[in-house]
Symmetry: none
Subunit: 151 residues, 2 copies
DNA sequence: ACCTCTCTGACCATCTTTGACTATTGTTTG
DNA sequence: CAAACAATAGTCAAAGATGGTCAGAGAGGT
């Protein structure tokens, strides 16, 4: 626990223990721990990832900030990872529908949510040649799986 | 929330909470918050857009004013049609988010649904050049609006 | 030595603030 | 009434204020 990364990590987690969400200014934290600002990005990228159960938002410019909140990781995390692996970067419309049905059955999505997503993944919504469509559909589904983790 | 833009935004919205329409003088507001007049234009252009559900009118010259009102579209079918028209075939990520927030406020989508859709419309989910991205995003949003009608 | 994790800094992206210049409308004057 | 003047608001580009990225240097362990 001697390196700055660990120290900053501990500092932030200690605050998160009390508050369910914190908002920091990158520059301020960097000054407080006497390091370069990008160090804060490193801490966040290695210690506050979605896999570790954190959701991070930020804004640049005047009045900018970095916001971190703890999220609940679903039990079905493994299912999502597996699906992600199965899908890879190619997905047909039928397969997409099957996956969505599965997600609804697992109660990871509501029926309405599945309908919305399905409509966005159907070929009519993806105006491009079929191979691109399938790649695009896979890409969108991958995004969905990631998003579900923080719902 | 220390930047002037957010402060002025909050001030105006707080008034709009009680009055359904406000009329301000640009110079006056600028003085009250000790900023340049064009700052007020910035606030209006970024925080009181049509996507966010505001209608702004103004007049120059003696007795000039800026009038802001919250747009109320009672019939949700009409709202969806209006949005569809506003969007056309070009949509930025920020505008998309604003529309989704609006849909949530109008209770046409749940928060979760909006988050899912937003994640699918963000640039990371649309691997193509920016112009195509915007066209694609508009296309997907149009699909969404159509889908909502039959949910 | 080699590998992995950490740290740094130059450069990039985005949002905000400012001010000079422009456009429009109302009022006064010749 | 037209021209000048006054009073507003709009536009836009540059500067300021943040946060993000990435490649390479540094440090610690095997």
């Amino acid at each position: 626990m001697q390196n700055i990364t660990d120290i900053i990590e501990a500092y932030l987690k200690q605050i998160l223990h009390d508050e369910k969400k914190i908002e920091i200014k990158r520059q301020e934290i960097a000054e407080r721990f006497d390091c370069v600002p990008s160090q804060i990005n490193y801490v966040i990228n290695t210690r506050f990832t979605i896999e570790k159960g954190y959701f991070v938002e930020s804004k640049r410019g005047g009045g900018g900030y970095i916001r971190i909140q703890k999220i609940v990781i679903l039990d079905s995390h493994d299912l999502l990872d597996e699906m992600s692996r199965w899908i890879g970067n190619d997905l047909t419309e039928q397969a997409a529908e099957d996956y969505l049905i599965r997600l609804v059955n697992e109660q990871l999505l509501t029926r309405r949510e599945a309908i919305v997503v399905q409509s966005l993944l159907q070929k009519e919504s993806l105006p491009m040649v079929v191979e691109d469509q399938r790649r695009m559909r896979a890409h969108l589904m991958q995004t969905l799986l990631k998003t579900i983790k923080r719902l």
